[in-house]
């Protein structure tokens, strides 16, 4: 069995009928979230233990009973309570930036949260307990049975690695997925020319046949390069030279930044217009234009 290829996106359709995609949380993120939650539970248990010790000191069994109950509730329902109150998030998940969502795009119901957290014991506590001391579960069990059940439980534990949505057994039961919603900031529109809404005057105005050479992929790659602050001048120059060669302007000298921004703006207008007429050009065309002198050249 090989690890299932990680599908990076999980798609739901909102009740408005709009598909939304979320990056699926990685196993590492989830493990980190789980460990943080464990630490929190451990600290709270410790606090309870201190209370219990004080109670034993004054010999109050009512307090002991409460502590016993509280520890039970903590361990059995920690995840359930937080995920219900915080809508799919626990303190650990919040720290790791991940959350539980309903697999079918409806709101996350309390029933689903309860169901997905019921199997935790089976997935984590029992494999550990069996490997430490099998006798408590099945006194006098033959070793093949212990090995078999241990293997089975380990398979459950590693289930997230073997399916594309990284779902645990509990996620299957409840039909939930853990995702990592991205935080994207809205940046300046590269094609916008500021507040002045006059007709744009391009220093390097290109012809339709030149713009036809490129597709959406190239446009968005150019966007990425222009938006990233870390782009080296030499990279920009190289890109500008490549474009110049392709569109048949290899003898022109240009101001790199202005040129690239103008290429972006013109190409986007061109491609968006084509899109409105139903033509989506995804990739660039092969080959290059012959040397041409542009009439608008100044």
């Amino acid at each position: 069995m090989t690890l299932a290829a990680e599908r990076t996106m999980f798609e739901i359709t909102t009740p408005e009928g709009v598909p939304l995609q979320f990056p699926i949380a990685s196993v590492g993120d989830r493990l980190a979230a789980f460990l943080i939650d464990c630490v929190i539970m451990g600290v709270v248990t410790l606090a309870f233990a201190v209370v219990a010790a004080l109670a034993a000191f004054v010999n109050s069994s009512a307090v002991m009973a409460l502590v016993n109950l509280a520890i039970f509730v903590l361990f059995a329902f920690y995840f359930t309570i937080f995920e219900i109150r915080w809508n799919g998030v626990t303190p650990g998940k919040r720290f790791a930036g991940i959350r539980v969502i309903d697999g079918s795009g409806r709101s996350l119901s309390s029933g689903a949260i309860f169901a997905r957290n019921l199997t935790r014991k089976l997935e984590i506590v029992i494999p550990i307990a069996i490997s430490l001391n099998a006798d408590t579960f099945w006194p006098g069990a033959p070793s093949w049975a212990i090995l078999g059940s241990l293997g089975w439980l380990l398979a459950l534990l590693f289930l997230p690695l073997f399916n594309r949505n990284r779902q645990r057994a509990g996620d299957f039961i409840a039909n939930t997925v853990v995702v990592r919603p991205p935080k994207v900031t809205l940046l300046r529109d590269l094609a916008s020319r500021g507040e002045s809404a006059e007709a744009p005057e391009y220093r390097y105005a290109m012809q339709p046949d030149q713009l036809d050479l490129y597709g959406i992929y190239e446009l968005q790659t150019l966007e990425k390069v222009l938006r990233s602050s870390g782009s080296e001048q030499s990279t920009l120059n190289a890109i500008a030279e490549k474009i110049l060669a392709k569109v048949g302007w290899s003898d022109r000298r240009v101001h790199t930044e202005t040129f690239l921004h103008e290429v972006y703006a013109q190409l986007r207008r061109h491609l968006e217009q084509k899109m409105l007429f139903g033509q989506r050009q995804e990739r660039k065309k092969e080959g290059r234009l012959d040397q041409k002198s542009d009439p608008t050249d100044r």
Partner: protein, 336 residues
């Protein structure tokens, strides 16, 4: 050349809405829904829907990758909050207890009956086998569970457990809470094991039945049957039925996994799993009641008539609860 790009114009017209939504979402992310006042709360769905529709438009007309990614992220984060479960805690609890739980049980009555059958057949087997050969008692009942009662116990020792001498009120609450947490653990385990196609559930149910039967046989031999059932039934009706429900939950899971019907195994497990979880959650509540009865009532009340009275009372109550309560209301979740 014409003026601005269509997608740029579009962005200029709508951007204000997105910024407002982003600000609200950011605050909810940080401090929860309570961070918004009533006015902002009423604006949230409108802003969300406007942004979602903007996302649809942007996907069709814009090639600005950052813009589309921003809107996808924004709509995604707002979606969690707009479609969150914002019903009050107590109304959820009431809905669960008065309608969802009994209705779910009625829908799955065959699983419940199957689980009951396994428990009863285990009990019968345990009773018959222990009656034939009392030494088998030790085989069925682990020492830590028998509270010192085994085949060597005299009639008086058995009676001592059934009618405890000193009822120290303080210790009882600790006893009750211990019973509750222990029973709930067993019940939830019973459910969780259902994902290993149901076989351990059969085993657990049967084994618990065996235990009960062996126990009954031990007391029967000393002529204490009536006293034992008086000791066991007041809480036992509730507790045994809760364990049966957990087992039924496990069976539902196993059944959903082995016989997925027309949907895929995964889909079916997702759907049936919630039903099963509902039963288990209800069973945990029942176990809590059982532990209260077991921890307080049984230790304090020794009169057999009252003990049987309570046993009959709880039986009637559960028959009414599962047979008739909430029939008129249909649970919302099942319809979808």
């Amino acid at each position: 050349m014409s003026v601005e790009l269509k997608s740029t114009q579009f962005r200029k017209e709508r951007e204000e809405t997105w910024r407002q939504l982003e600000e609200l979402v950011l605050r909810i992310d940080k401090r929860g829904v309570r961070a918004l006042d009533a006015d902002e709360l009423t604006r949230l769905p409108g802003l969300y829907r406007a942004s979602v529709s903007a996302l649809s438009v942007a996907r069709a007309i814009s090639l600005d990758r950052n813009l589309i990614e921003y809107l996808e992220g924004l709509c995604g984060r707002a979606y969690f909050h707009v479609y969150s479960n914002r019903r009050g805690f107590w109304s959820t609890v009431a809905e669960f207890l008065l309608s969802t739980f009994p209705n779910t049980l009625r829908r799955n009555k065959w699983f419940v009956l199957t689980a009951t059958l396994f428990l009863v057949s285990g009990a019968t087997t345990g009773f018959v086998m222990t009656t034939q050969d009392p030494d088998r008692y030790a085989m069925f009942v682990p020492t830590e569970m028998s509270q010192g009662r085994d085949t060597t116990s005299s009639r008086e020792e058995l009676l001592d457990v059934i009618y405890p001498e000193s009822s120290v009120g303080e210790a009882l609450s600790a006893f009750a809470s211990m019973l509750f947490s222990n029973n709930s653990r067993v019940g939830m385990l019973c459910f969780a094991l259902g994902i290993i196609p149901a076989i351990p559930v059969f085993y657990l149910l049967f084994f618990n039945g065996l235990l009960l039967g062996a126990f009954a046989a031990l007391h029967h031999q000393h002529g204490l049957s009536l006293d034992l059932w008086g000791w066991l039934l007041p809480h036992g009706v509730t507790e045994l039925f809760a364990i049966v429900l957990c087992g039924a939950g496990g069976l539902i899971l196993g059944h959903g996994l082995v016989f997925p019907g027309r949907s895929t195994r995964r889909e079916n497990l997702g759907r049936r799993g919630r039903e099963a979880a509902t039963l288990v959650l209800g069973a945990v509540c029942m176990l809590f009641i059982a532990a209260l009865i077991e921890g307080f009532f049984r230790q304090l009340v020794h009169d057999m008539a009252i003990r049987y009275g309570l046993a009959i009372g709880t039986t009637l109550f559960w028959i009414y609860y599962f047979g008739f309560l909430g029939r008129a209301r249909q649970p919302a979740e099942v319809r979808a």
